[in-house]
């Protein structure tokens, strides 16, 4: 009979989201806690009795007491499941107090892995963990996965770290060898650390975080339902995320239908559960830019969080635009001075940006006064 389990990681429970307004901040924190229940539901519906969490279950080495207690209580409430927690780089074994408390206060269906000793997690199924000893251990901890197990055992590796170092732009080689599963005779290697879901080999996967926490991975987050039912495991992604973090980019040019482009770039439904960081580039006439800003002001409250960066969107002032400020006279003259300054290569970029912003403001104010 096939052994089935749910592979997840990087819950980062207790993450503060201090850079966001209080309303969305609380919702984001709550969504992370809620991921426990969604993982349990996914495991249950997939026929899995074990949930492997491949590190970084907690965001900090010393999470707030309520964060820890709520998490332990939520896992305990899913009594029909077994939760196996691996220390990651955020909640490494150096966080000895955390793991002491998990050991002391954790429910019976939770096992914190604090050493590399193979665990018998089901009949004939052995887990070979590689807990992070430090935030940056500096060595391949997964060597421990070559430890012996009874003959014929099904071996599952559980590790946390980089096969590819994603901190750089090029994705340099990391510490965990990509062929670790083959080297150590693993039927499946469950990895954590990378917040996006990724297959390394047919038997080596990053599950990604079940609830996204940033704009880096613009995909639907979830967990992996794994069935060890043949030479190659059957891996099924399961969606678990509540929030989507989107970073749409609008490259605009004069003549574009700004409203249509904006509408097309943004999600159509569940706006409240979306965090949007829109970046606009290109060049727009003053009127279109003003229309874009007005549209952004209008739609931003629909979303859970919305931020628009127009700093890279240049202003193109057409004669008609300036006419709308004034046909002539002092207002027109001020507009022309600012327009010239915004495109003056002799000035620094901040000075040009300031002039462009001043011109946009003048345009908007002139329309208000005229109205």
């Amino acid at each position: 009979m096939a052994f089935r389990f749910l592979h997840s990681s990087d819950l980062h429970l207790g993450r503060a989201f201090g850079g966001y307004p209080e309303g969305i901040r609380n919702r984001l924190r709550e969504a992370r806690h809620g991921a426990i229940g969604r993982l349990a539901a996914a495991a249950r519906s997939g026929g899995a009795g074990v949930v492997l969490l491949a590190g970084d279950t907690f965001d900090a080495e010393t999470p707030a007491p309520e964060t820890l207690r709520h998490a332990l209580r939520a896992m305990g409430d899913e009594a029909d499941l077994t939760w196996i927690l691996l220390p990651g780089n955020h909640d490494s074994l150096a966080a000895s107090e955390l793991w002491r408390r998990i050991a002391a206060d954790g429910p019976a269906n939770l096992r914190g892995v604090t050493d590399a000793t193979p665990l018998d997690i089901a009949p004939g199924v052995w887990l070979l963990p590689a807990p992070c000893t430090q935030r940056r251990p500096g060595r391949d901890l997964t060597e421990a996965m070559s430890a012996p197990t009874p003959p014929g055992a099904c071996r599952i590796g559980l590790g946390h770290g980089a096969i590819t170092d994603f901190s750089g732009e090029e994705g340099a080689a990391g510490i965990i060898p990509p062929d670790r599963a083959v080297r150590s005779g693993l039927a499946y290697l469950a990895l954590g650390d990378w917040h996006g879901q990724m297959q390394v080999t047919p038997a080596t996967w990053y599950s990604g975080t079940p609830e996204p926490d940033g704009f880096k991975h613009d995909i639907a987050a979830g967990a992996l339902l794994v069935a060890l039912d043949g030479p190659v495991p059957t891996v099924t992604p399961v969606a678990t995320a509540q929030f989507r973090w989107r970073s749409p980019q609008l490259d605009l040019l004069a003549g574009d239908d700004v409203a249509q482009r904006l509408t097309a770039a943004l999600p159509k439904t569940q706006a409240r559960d979306h965090l949007i960081r829109l970046t606009a580039t290109g060049r727009l006439p003053l009127a279109d830019r003003a229309a874009l800003e007005a549209a952004l002001d209008r739609i931003a409250p629909d979303y859970g969080w919305f931020q628009a960066d127009l700093s890279a969107l240049s202003v193109v002032a057409l004669p008609a635009d300036l006419d709308q400020i004034d046909h002539a006279g002092a207002l027109r003259q001020a507009a022309e001075v600012l327009l010239a300054e915004a495109g003056d290569p002799a000035l620094s970029q901040p000075e040009r940006d300031t002039a462009a912003a001043a011109l946009s403001r003048l345009y908007a104010l002139a329309q208000q006064v005229q109205a």
Partner: protein
């Protein structure tokens, strides 16, 4: 643009009628009609046509509606560069706007017609090129709407425009951005005021300041929390280290290894300690053998030394006795010499004393003889001096009684001469009488016979003439009285001078002065002699005589020669000195010899005592020699025993283990065991402490809070940066607006003043007008070198200046190729006859390339204006 005709249908008083104003020329056109004709209705209607939309139902539009109601209609015919057009609007009911060309073709209607009008009214001179109104006209720039603020603003604008000058300000505002510019500037200022202070700093309570404050507060919280987080992190690391250390310390294998090490160290240390005891015993045996040999040798040496000391004492005693005998003989001899020398010295001293006594007597005898000689001389000088003193005293007494002096005598001589002169003058002036008596007859005056010769008469004088009686001669006041007074004055002066000389005549005074000179000479001679005889004085002379007399009486009776005695005494004194020196030398030698004698006697006694002591210690000399020989025979056996002990000790030392090493090794083994126990205890204590601290800090969720603070601070910093950028852009915009408005004003006022100057000169030759930069109104009028603020001038002058300024604006448009009509509605109401003539001239000057429509009810006053005369035809519709 030029107006050609105006047509009002159903407007105000023209209800149900059409009023057509025609005949408007290129220059000045005057519509001169009485009050209530409806001129202002034309004015308002034209304004509404150009500035009110046809769908508007605002006040200006409703104001056109007649009381009977209906839809007011206004149309004008204008000539443009493109041709002739008719502009027509209807309001309120079936509102309509239409533009038709000269051929009656529809050009635009409704909103397109409004746009056509807007383009017409828009200008190329930074503002509207519409009609230039001179009346309390409304230019359509007031805010519309019915809110309280709008009404207040509208009322404010209308109130301001009641002054003609303010309407100019409105036009200038339009040229320089106007209220729209003001609105933008106000909104920029409001936006800035919400965020920043006047100096561009974050404003308290504003969003920017709030973001900055948040950054500060969050950074502060972060800074205060971070040390605790670091401490927690450090404590966790330290606890891991302590746990590892404790595990090592409590490991059983490690404990067994430390116990075995201690056991081996103890065994080695005991063996080393036993060997050391053997060496100690061998060292004691060797020290004993050495001690025996050394002690025997020292006893032999002591006895030999004792025998030698007895012999030495004997020799020393013999020598001391010989020296004591020699010293005693010498002392006796020198004692005798001492006494002899003392006798000789005493004899020499006696001789010297005798000679001194004799010399003193001889000396006193010689002094008495000298004193006698001196006393005789002194006696003679005293006698001579006493005689001189008597003469001197007599002469000085006589001299003291004479008071005349050379000066006094000279004064008397002068007084006599003055008297003589006065008398001579008086006599020369006086009446004189001369008696020439006959025989025996004697004439007399006051009983005194009259002398011979002429006699002066100074006053009334009675002359007794015998036989005749008395003849009174009175010279009167005219002659002789003054001379007589001078004579009396000179006589009185002479009397005072003589009294000073102590005489009653000048002759006596002269004699007395001669006697005085004689006495002075005699006194001087006596004083000179006295100085020679008794210079020291008579009393001193007497004292010296008494002293010399006494000395002469004290003379001893001797025949000794003092000089011989003096020589003998010198010789005797030298002999005494020599004898005394010899006595002192002999005495010193005797004392020295006595001391040497005592010393040798003491030495002898010492030598005797030492010999006795040595003999007491040595005892019998034979027994002493036997004892020495016995001890010497034992010395070889003692040396052999010492050599045996040295060999045994050297052998033990050669094989001895290092006790210090075994002791140190034992201490180290014990220390390791003890230290392990202490370290384990300390580690348990540290662990307990760290567990408590970590538990407390972990309960605070510090790391989670710190992460939240860091992210919040970053967000607040980004927000503050956005506000700062916004403030920068607002400040830049404000500066751009200020610069543009200033530039526009500067560019605009120049041409206006240029156009205004010739018009102003028509009224006030040589005058200049300055415009206030802030209010934009004509402000200062300078005439004949005197500058005056416009608001203190008369209403007429201000009205004229305002109209001229407006004409200047119109000329500006005309020069730009866009001539605009100027409409004057009941203007120049304050101008006197002279000024109104000048204003007419200015209007004509402007009207050369400018259309001017004058609406007035002052038919007579404006008769002199000239120009075209417009007419109004009213028809019923």
């Amino acid at each position: 643009m030029r107006l050609r005709a105006i047509e009002l249908t159903n407007v105000r008083r023209f209800a149900g009628r059409r009023a057509s104003l025609t005949g408007i020329g290129d220059g000045i056109t005057v519509l001169s009609e009485p009050n209530e004709f409806g001129k202002s209705t034309f004015f308002d209607a034209i304004h509404a046509l150009f500035f009110e939309k046809h769908r508007s139902a605002k006040g200006p539009v409703k104001a056109l509606q007649p009381h009977a109601g209906g839809a007011p209609e206004v149309a004008v015919v204008v000539d443009l560069a493109e041709g002739r057009f008719r502009i027509a609007k209807r309001w309120l009911q079936r509102p309509q706007a239409q533009i038709t060309d000269g051929a009656g073709r529809m050009i635009a209607q409704a909103d397109e017609a409004e746009a056509w009008i807007d383009r017409l009214m828009g200008g190329d001179l930074a503002g509207p090129s519409g009609l230039l109104w001179v009346r309390q006209g409304v230019l359509g720039m007031e805010p519309d709407g019915s809110s309280t603020d709008d009404k207040r603003e509208r009322e404010r604008g209308l109130t301001a425009r009641r002054d003609l000058l303010s309407s100019i300000a409105g036009e200038i505002d339009m040229m320089t951005g106007g209220r729209r510019m003001d609105g933008v500037v106000d909104r920029v200022a409001e936006a800035l005021a919400r965020l920043a202070t006047a100096t561009g700093r974050p404003k308290a309570g504003g969003d920017w300041a709030r973001a900055v404050d948040e950054v500060t507060a969050l950074a502060g919280e972060e800074a205060s929390l971070r040390p605790r987080a670091d401490r927690l992190s450090g404590d966790l690391a330290r606890r891991a280290e302590v746990q590892r250390s404790l595990a090592r310390l409590t490991d059983p294998q490690e404990a067994a290894r430390r116990a075995e090490g201690l056991h081996q160290a103890e065994a080695a240390h005991q063996a080393a300690q036993a060997h050391q005891d053997h060496i100690t015993q061998a060292e004691a045996a060797r020290r004993l053998a050495v001690l025996d040999a050394d002690q025997t040798m020292r006893e032999v040496e002591r006895l030999q030394d004792l025998a030698a000391r007895v012999e030495q004492a004997r020799v020393a005693l013999a020598q001391a006795k010989a020296q004591a005998s020699s010293a005693r003989s010498r002392s006796d001899d020198l004692g005798l010499r001492d006494r002899t020398a003392a006798s000789v010295a005493e004899a020499a001293a006696a001789t010297t004393r005798d000679l001194r006594q004799r010399l003193a007597g001889a000396t006193r005898s010689r002094a008495a003889q000298a004193a006698r000689t001196q006393a005789a001389a002194l006696q003679r000088r005293l006698e001579r001096a006493t005689a001189l003193q008597g003469t001197l005293d007599a002469n000085q007494g006589q001299r003291a009684r004479i008071s005349v002096s050379a000066k006094l005598l000279e004064a008397a001589e002068k007084a006599q001469a003055a008297l003589d002169l006065a008398r001579a003058r008086a006599e020369a002036q006086a009446v004189t009488i001369a008696a020439l008596p006959e025989t025996g007859a004697v004439a007399s005056i006051a009983g005194q016979p009259l002398p011979d010769g002429p006699q002066p008469i100074y006053a009334a004088t009675d002359i007794t003439l015998p036989g005749f009686g008395v003849l009174r001669v009175d010279p009167g006041q005219a002659r002789g009285a003054e001379g007589a007074a001078e004579v009396r004055k000179a006589e009185q002066a002479l009397e005072r001078a003589l009294a000073s000389c102590g005489t009653d005549s000048l002759t006596a005074a002269r004699s007395a002065w001669a006697e005085a000179q004689r006495l002075d000479a005699s006194i001087a001679q006596a004083l000179a002699l006295m100085a020679e005889v008794a210079a020291e004085g008579i009393d001193a002379l007497r004292s010296a005589l008494a002293k010399a007399t006494a000395e002469a009486a004290d003379a001893p009776d001797t025949t000794d020669d003092a000089d011989a005695l003096t020589a003998a005494l010198g010789q005797a004194e030298r002999a005494e000195d020599e004898a005394r020196a010899a006595a002192r030398a002999a005495h010193d030698l005797a004392v020295t010899a006595g001391e040497a004698r005592a010393a040798t006697q003491a030495d002898q006694r010492t030598a005797e005592r030492r010999l006795a002591d040595a003999l007491d210690e040595a005892g019998d000399p034979a027994a002493l020699a036997g004892q020495i020989a016995d001890l010497r025979s034992r010395l070889p056996a003692l040396a052999a025993a010492k050599a045996l002990a040295d060999t045994a000790l050297a052998a033990l030392r050669a094989n001895a283990p290092d006790l210090a090493t075994t002791t140190a090794r034992l201490a180290r083994a014990k220390g390791a065991v003890d230290q392990a126990a202490k370290d384990a205890g300390r580690a348990r204590e540290d662990l307990a402490s760290l567990n408590a601290t970590i538990a407390a800090l972990a309960d605070e969720g510090i790391e989670e809070r710190l992460s939240s603070l860091t992210e919040s601070r970053a967000e607040a910093e980004a927000r503050a940066a956005r506000y700062e950028a916004e403030v920068r852009s607002l400040i830049r915009l404000r500066r751009a607006l200020d610069d543009a408005r200033t530039k526009a004003r500067d560019a605009y006022f120049g041409p206006v003043l240029h156009e205004l100057q010739p018009l102003l000169s028509i009224l006030h030759p040589g005058a200049h007008l300055a415009i206030d930069d802030t209010s934009l109104l004509p402000a200062i009028l300078t005439r004949n070198g005197q500058a005056e603020a416009l608001d203190i001038l008369s209403g007429g002058t201000r009205e004229q200046v305002a109209i001229l300024t407006r004409l200047a604006f119109a000329r500006l448009f005309a020069r730009a190729g866009r001539p605009v009509p100027v409409i004057l509605d009941d203007a120049l109401v304050h101008s006197d006859d002279d000024r109104i003539e000048a204003m007419f001239t200015a209007l004509h000057r402007t009207a050369r390339d400018q259309q001017i429509l004058v609406l007035t009810c002052r038919q007579r006053a404006f008769a002199a204006l000239g120009g075209e005369r417009a007419t109004v035809q009213v028809d019923v519709v």
